[in-house]
Symmetry: C2
Subunit: 454 residues, 2 copies
């Protein structure tokens, strides 16, 4: 329990208008995009690095948990305050501090919404590529904390590939500066990536330096229909061997197609799966790559359902984004997974998922970023089927691991995947991770109870 004395000290640090202990506020900060909730004891809205540092020092002195929070859109319970304590909301640290056009980088505070950042830099002809599905509301701080991915990762990589430097408040309250304002740099240990994807357990980012690229002037999107799933490995292998990479290679399975079709009546053909491809770059180069795709699929029995350029392509992506809401036709509850397999194993993974449907009589569907081997698997069920859904979850995770994969590509471990972590990572390696947590956060103040089972 936070004592009145601590609350008073917190008020002194941030100002009394920037802390709340009202029940309705505590409720608003008790959840993320999972179904897990837990109330914090106070919500604090810090306004500076120094305030955050002072809060962390106080937390160590009085031994209360602190949990940094972006938009609360996380998919693994990372932002749920399961140990109570203080939620630190980054909403006031939401400025784009400096767009350096010549050096192609941007300094941002963690509370900037990713989509807003993309628009701001696009106005200067610059491009921040990572595109998590949540980009309209998730924040850069949260994206860095989870190492968010997205569809464009095939060509452009994920969040970690764009973070050049960080200002971090350590769990002890010390302020450090990692990384460089330069593209290269090998001075001392590379601390930046240790914080990226650390799910709010190792430090609180207060300034983030992101690398930018030139904004691609042209874009095309292709929607392909697969008459048989067996075409997948051949197609994927060919696409990945193009000398100029495709930007995105997304897969949509038969059940997802049904759901989207029920919802939108798009008149999609009867196929075993869809592939949504994106290509970007200069106009001439985009044309060359699109032609290469068309030449390739001509001989393979694949249907070209649509080829859209520029703005029109957005329509096709709406189909892709409609999947997540549309699947609730198949069950009132969803167990959502984010496994990755080596890319040559995609067909085996999809077949395994389809076998699980048969074996357990539950709608298990998949879609996602197969260009990276990353599949979002949704197990749909009703309240009475909780146990069955749990069994299928375990089978999905095990299948991914047997195929040489990993249990999470983008969403992180947080709470909901913690019990599977030791299925993938061996004891000495887990031990080292916990040793690092211990070295940085000796009193276990920052986002306790996450990633590692207690």
């Amino acid at each position: 329990m936070l004592s009145l004395k601590v609350i008073k000290k917190l008020k002194k640090i941030v100002g009394k208008e920037y802390i709340s202990v009202h029940q309705e506020d505590l409720l608003s900060y008790s959840y993320d995009a999972t179904q897990v909730t837990s109330l914090p004891e106070a919500v604090v809205f810090p306004g500076s690095t120094q305030e955050i540092s002072a809060i962390m020092k106080l937390a160590n002195q009085y031994q209360f948990p602190v949990l940094p929070r972006g938009a609360g859109s996380g998919m693994s319970g990372g932002a749920v305050p399961i140990k109570g304590g203080v939620v630190l909301t980054m909403s006031r640290l939401n400025r784009i501090l400096e767009i350096d056009e010549r050096n192609m980088y941007v300094w941002v505070e963690p509370g900037v919404v990713t989509g807003d950042l993309q628009e701001a830099v696009a106005k200067k002809g610059l491009f921040y590529p990572p595109d998590p599905a949540s980009l309209a509301f998730s924040t850069i701080g949260g994206n860095v904390a989870e190492c968010a991915g997205g569809a464009r990762a095939v060509k452009y990589g994920v969040t970690k590939d764009y973070v050049m430097a960080l200002e971090v408040v350590l769990p002890t309250g010390k302020i450090i500066h990692t990384g460089h304002k330069t593209i290269k740099g090998v001075t001392g240990y590379n601390l930046t990536p240790l914080f990226i994807g650390s799910e709010g357990t190792l430090g609180i980012f207060t300034k983030i330096l992101l690398r930018l690229l030139p904004l691609p002037p042209a874009k095309a999107t292709l929607l392909l229909g697969l008459p048989q799933l067996e075409l997948l490995p051949h197609l994927l292998n060919k696409f990945l061997r193009f000398p100029e990479p495709l930007t995105a290679i997304e897969f949509i399975d038969d059940l997802c197609i049904q759901c989207v079709e029920n919802h939108f009546q798009l008149g999609l053909p009867a196929v075993e799966g869809l592939l949504l491809l994106e290509v970007d770059g200069s106009e001439k180069v985009v044309e060359i790559i699109v032609q290469q795709v068309l030449d390739m699929v001509k001989t393979s029995g694949v249907k070209v359902i649509e080829l859209a350029w520029a703005e029109k392509a957005k329509k096709l992506w709406e189909v892709r984004r409609a999947i997540s809401p549309a699947v609730f036709q198949l069950g009132s509850k969803k167990s959502s997974h984010d496994i990755v397999v080596p890319r040559a194993q995609i067909l085996n993974m999809v077949k395994k998922i389809q076998a699980l449907r048969q074996d357990y009589g539950l709608p298990v569907l998949c879609f996602g970023h197969i260009g990276d081997g990353n599949l979002h698997v949704n197990i749909m069920y009703d309240e009475t089927e909780e146990v069955k859904a749990q069994t299928v979850t375990e089978k999905v995770i095990k299948a991914a691991l047997i195929l040489g994969g990993t249990i999470s590509g983008e969403h992180g471990i947080g709470l909901t995947k913690a019990r599977f972590l030791s299925w993938e990572i061996n004891q000495p390696t887990l031990k080292l991770m916990q040793q690092l947590k211990q070295a940085l956060d000796p009193n276990n103040i920052l986002n306790p109870g996450k990633i590692f089972l207690e």
Copy 2:
């Protein structure tokens, strides 16, 4: 001093033919590419992960230093055994374990020569992009330990962008496995990058998983002459804004041109600097980019000295590689630096270097990877000019830092840059780095005395 008992135990671990205490062997492992030397007390040639683990346990028990060594081609003293002890030579761990063509990755042991790896994967149509100038003799293990760069980093990044997973023997002898066999993966802390560039101080890599790309089918190289250095910022900015990236953007200054010209009589025109550009990809796309370069330079007064395709381009790169030996015309000793500045600051950095020539009467020259802001600065001097060379060194380092840069882009800190590290990195951040070293290597066994001043 290593006791006879320890030597005996080492022999038992690796077999008596794989350890030497002969003076000529100790001499052979006493140096790297810097001018610093120090004798080890024994050289050991381990044959497996288990042997290395056993050696590390022994080292902790008997408190002797251990230093892992690749080809000894490092540029900052990282492989010099300044505390004596045991040099662990990775030459027996030199197998390419598995090239997975479908998943486009390769498992290698650390002792594989980088160039050999590139040839082996090229035979399968695959490409390992990082190209340090030492690639004909440096090893992958050393490249990972230093996070080696190279000219192609503009398009392809550096070593860290290709390491997917590591098997690491920790300083305590424990064996861990970091990373994933998949492109994405966010399970637990991202340990892999902590070891990359850790200069043999945090762990010994025994297996390395590297991501591969499709081998680009076409390539072109352009040699451009700059009538005035003042054209640099404009050109660089334009090149970096191309929608399809150039592969390499190298700069060669006037003094380097003189040296190369004296050596080879190539008939290079009288210019203030040269730019060497590389473009790769499919044939059509390479043609488009080359045309874009030609269109751009047409209006800017830049001379196109040569445009070479495919094999012919190798000749142009010979000019670039000839710089390092050719500069010894200007002085018998070389103080070599590897600074990086934000890319828009390149001209300011080059001007600063030229001013130092005037101010101190020493030949100070520069060349290198300006597409990344990374300049190799060579201060040439004779034995009597040691103090002056030292002063110029400090001025070069300070200038890079004042321009927002970093003291090393590729070569690491090791011994020779250790005293400058605190000029760049603040105390709390350095402290955290040392805390991590302490957590992983409590007895300070692995490559002691490097990176951090004692």
